[in-house]
Structures are given as structure tokens and as C-alpha cells.
Amino acid sequence: MTERSGVEVRLENLQRRYGAVVALDGLSLTIAPGELVALLGPSGCGKTTALRLLAGLEDADGGRVVVGGNDVTGLPANRRNVGMVFQAYSLFPHMVAWENVAFGLQMRKVGAAERKKRALETLELVGLDRYANRYASQMSGGQQQRVALARALAIRPQVLLLDEPLSALDAKVRGRLRDEIRRIQLEVGITTLFVTHDQEEALAIADRVGVMQSGKLEQLDSPVAVYSRPATPFVADFVGLTNRIPGEVKFGGVEVRGTQLPLVQKDVPAGAAIALVRPEAVTITGDGDASSGPLVGTVIAVAFLGATSRVTVDLGDITVLAQLPTSDAAEHPAGTKVKLALRPDPVLVDRHE
């Protein structure tokens, strides 16, 4: 395991407004040295704004940005020594790959020969040394983004910032490049902030995931924790799939279609509520032909996802998703009646529809 280096990054109570619209509402976040934190959220949640404030491309209306112990809030972008990878179009079209990568070194007045040498080394790091003399227009989207990554890393920055770097790429390229980025980040050991709206991306590569909504951080935790122990209904809904099943809160838990489930939240007032149940918590216990009940229904569709399958079951008044090993799901194809059961995992409840 490579030694973790890199510096600590602290965002302290950042505020940003565009006229009447609040983009960031007191965001505070600490990234440990060498850690990769992913900011995840829907469009407009403020994740890109946070990144740009860290980069110095926009001015904060309040709060501080501290990199490696230094307050850089007042520093212009070109003095912050951060490496940034944009979503698209950021390579200079009139320069070949190695010239793009060497650009930051040129700004730091590194000599021509040394520049080229380091540029080629960094291109090798991202696996594109054979493309050193190609122009952006002669490369695919994935290759362009790798050059962009090399360009950001060549200057040996203190922090690496990635603004939805994979969103403009094909699905297949996205997966491969995502893992590449993580591999390189670990190898170099650089503190990284990765912004995305794709939760699969965030969960796959981050050390910690920060889920954001409307300028606020809803939860900052490891991927496993964000997925299996969501702190708020928004996180539960946004990360992974969720069944929203109406039930009633009583006796310290929530009764959902005949099953009593423990609650994640404390001090929830009794009454009607929506329980947020993960598909993995829904199991098929048997054929439903002979029985009836609140958890008996008909299979509408089975989606084959590889090792597991997702089964859509119509319970009459609502539709529920169950995720099971494919071999189990194969016994209940579309059209058959099944009986479901809910695992007694703690769940979140939501009051609104």
C-alpha cells in the first residue's frame, strides 16, 4: 500500500449566493491528506460551486478555504496550486497532448527540455505516452480526459479537483476511466475532491461520500454507511433504490403491511408515515398462489443484473422492488404470484408523499 501523502483541505462555513439564489449555505468539510472525497447530489445542489470556490474560480461570500494549513480564501486561482479536471472541452485545441500537459510547468518557468520530460512522464502515468503528439481533435473523449488529468497532475498540485469528469463520456469508457482515476489517485497519494451526480461513481471510488442538497451537506460518511445507513430521507432516496411503502408509526417502530420494523430515527411522532425500504431488504418467501395478505402479489418484471436480479412485484395498491440472487429470482418469473417478507433492518420514515 503506497504511503498516503498530500495535504489536509478544510472548507469552513462556505457561503455563496447568486442574487437571490443561495448556492452554498454554510458548507463545512474536512478532507484528510491523501483522501478522495466525492460530493454527490442533483443539479443545483451546490457541489460544483463548492469545488469552484476551492479552486478559486469564484469568490466566496463568506467562510474560509484552508489548504495545508494556509488560508487561501483571498488567493486568486492561479496562485493556489490546485490541479483541476473539467467536464469537457478543456484541452487547448492548438497544442498537442504533451504541450497541454507541459503548460502548467511552462507557467512555473520550468525549462523547455525538463518540461517535455516531465510531461511525457505524466502522460505515461495515465497510459497515453504514445499519444503525446496528437491534438485533442484526434483523440476520443476518454483519452482527452486522461490528458486533462495528466495536465492537472504534472504541476504536482496539493489538491486534485475533478468536476464531473466522466459525465460527458460513453458508459463503458466511464467505468474504466473511473477506476483508472482512483488507481492513479492512490498511487500519487494526492488529496482529491470529486464532484458527480452519478451515485454509482461516487460509491465506487470514494473514501468518503458527501451527499448534498440545496447548498447543504446532508451526510458525510463512507460509501457503505451512506448506502446502508442513510441519515436523512433525501439520502435514502438519492443513493440507491428505495421502496416507499406507506405504514404507521407506533410502539417505537413502524408497522408496514403487517410487519413491525425498527426505526433509524429517534423520537418519531406516532401516526401515518412512509417507510423507506431497500430492495435488498425485501425477500420472496414462496409462491403466493395459496395465500393472501398485504405482502402477496404478482411479479410484473424481472431485470437481470448479473449476480442479482431485480424483481418488480405488484401488490395491488403499490409496486415493490425486491433484489435477490438471480438463482432465486429465476424461480419466480413474470406472471407468477409470490409472497414477500421484509427483513427486520432499521428503516427511515418520511412524512411526505
Partner: protein, 249 residues
């Protein structure tokens, strides 16, 4: 090219070396070059001011529409507009003269080549705006931000990124302005009545026979000379244009 007997002759091309034609060619060249360069610089500044503004704003619409109209504006009315403004009886000149700044003290340059150059700028600058603005619009904001995050300031951005990217478009547009000025006839004719210092006027003169002799063959020779020059310029322009579209579209 065809003489009185109907057979081909190159005599008229020989006449192109007549001294006054050579002088006229030089005049036309220099006025075209001067108005092209000055028009290109001011036009580029104006285009830049437009491009950094609101892309859907009213100011942009108005300036582009005005450019579209004024780029076509020429001839008698343009000449007259300038005469009315800074001519010997124009109100701007009179105001300056009353304040002891008589700029026609040596000669009334409005009716000579310098005046013609000034008047040409009136349609050269809008033409530059129309031709150069698309290139400016093609500059992506990410390039500026990438430059900054890599440690470059404003000067670095223009010197290493935006400058080289816009250079072909700027050069191409300047060439187009040159060709435009070189071909202009109506305005020159309206402003300068004596001497016909511009090549285009020489053709007109040779055709109409009002000044000097009626020499249609010679007019054609001058015409060929002009076409050759303008064609070379236009070819150079389209080569540069291709480079621009590759980078900025």
C-alpha cells in the same frame, strides 16, 4: 485582350506599367492595407466588447444589427455624411475651428487619400465585427479557467492560449477587409473627383471615357490585375478560415 482587329493581344497588359497606373496601384494597396489593419484592430476591440456581454442581450442585438447595416453602407451617402460632419462646412470642423484647431490649415485632406481612409473605416470596422465575432464566440470559458488553475494569469492566457487560437481568424479577417477596401469604388468615386487615385476608378474612367480615352481593353487589363490580387487574398483567407473552424467550432 482582344484588339481592334479581333485578335488576341497583350498590349493592354503592357499598359499596366504606365506610370500613373503604377502609382494608382500603390495608392490602392496602401489605403487598403492601412484601413484593413486599423479597421481590424478597432473592429476586434468592438467585437471583443460584444462577445463578453450577455449573449441574448439587447446591446448585442443592436450592435450586430447596426454592423450588418453599416458594413453595406457606402457610396455617395457615406461620403456626404462625412462631408456634413467634418467637411469644410461641417459642424464638427466648425466647432474645432472656432477653438483654434483648424485641421484643414494645410490642405483639405478629407477629399484626398487620408480622408478616404477615414471614410472607409466606417464600413471596415462593422465588417470586422461581423467576420471576427464568431471566432470570439468560439472561445470556451474552460480554457481561461484551465489556464488559471495551471498558474497562468491574464497575460499568459492571451499570450499562449487565446492569442494563438484567434490569430488565424484575425489574420483572415484582416485579409478580407483588405480585399473589401481594394474593391471599393462607389465611395472613392463620391469623395474624390479629381485624379482617380484608386484602381477601381481607373477602370470606371477607362470604360466611360469621361476622363482620358475610352479604352475598354485597357479597362479589362486593369480588371484582371484587380482580380488576381483579390483572388490571392481570398484564397489565403479561406485557408486561414479552415484552421479557425477546426479549433473554434
Amino acid at each position: 485582350m482582344v484588339d481592334a482587329n479581333g485578335s488576341l493581344t497583350l498590349v493592354n497588359f503592357g499598359h499596366l506599367s504606365r506610370e500613373y497606373i503604377v502609382k494608382t496601384t500603390i495608392n490602392t494597396f496602401s489605403i487598403s492595407a492601412v484601413t484593413a489593419i486599423i479597421g481590424a484592430v478597432f473592429g476586434a476591440l468592438l467585437a471583443y466588447a460584444i462577445s463578453v456581454g450577455n449573449p441574448k442581450g439587447l446591446l448585442r442585438r443592436i450592435t450586430l444589427s447596426a454592423s450588418g447595416v453599416l458594413a453595406q453602407f457606402g457610396g455617395v451617402t457615406l461620403a456626404f455624411a462625412f462631408i456634413a460632419t467634418i467637411g469644410p462646412a461641417g459642424f464638427v470642423y466648425l466647432w474645432f475651428a472656432q477653438h483654434h484647431a483648424d485641421f484643414y490649415a494645410n490642405s483639405i485632406w478629407l477629399f484626398e487619400l487620408p480622408g478616404l481612409a477615414l471614410v472607409y473605416l466606417y464600413f471596415q470596422v462593422p465588417l470586422m465585427v461581423l467576420v471576427f465575432l464568431p471566432a470570439l464566440d468560439g472561445i470556451k470559458p474552460q480554457w481561461r479557467e484551465a489556464t488559471e488553475s495551471l498558474g497562468g494569469g491574464t497575460w499568459h492566457y492571451w499570450r499562449y492560449v487565446a492569442g494563438p487560437l484567434l490569430a488565424p481568424a484575425f489574420l483572415g479577417a484582416t485579409l478580407l477587409l483588405f480585399a473589401n477596401s481594394f474593391s471599393a469604388y462607389a465611395t472613392a468615386n463620391a469623395l474624390i473627383n479629381q485624379g482617380q487615385p484608386v484602381l477601381a476608378q481607373q477602370i470606371g474612367g477607362a470604360l466611360s471615357g469621361e476622363v482620358g480615352t475610352f479604352e475598354p481593353g485597357f479597362a479589362k487589363a486593369i480588371a484582371v490585375e484587380m482580380v488576381v490580387i483579390v483572388t490571392l487574398v481570398t484564397v489565403a483567407y479561406s485557408l486561414l478560415q479552415r484552421r479557425t473552424t477546426r479549433w473554434l467550432q
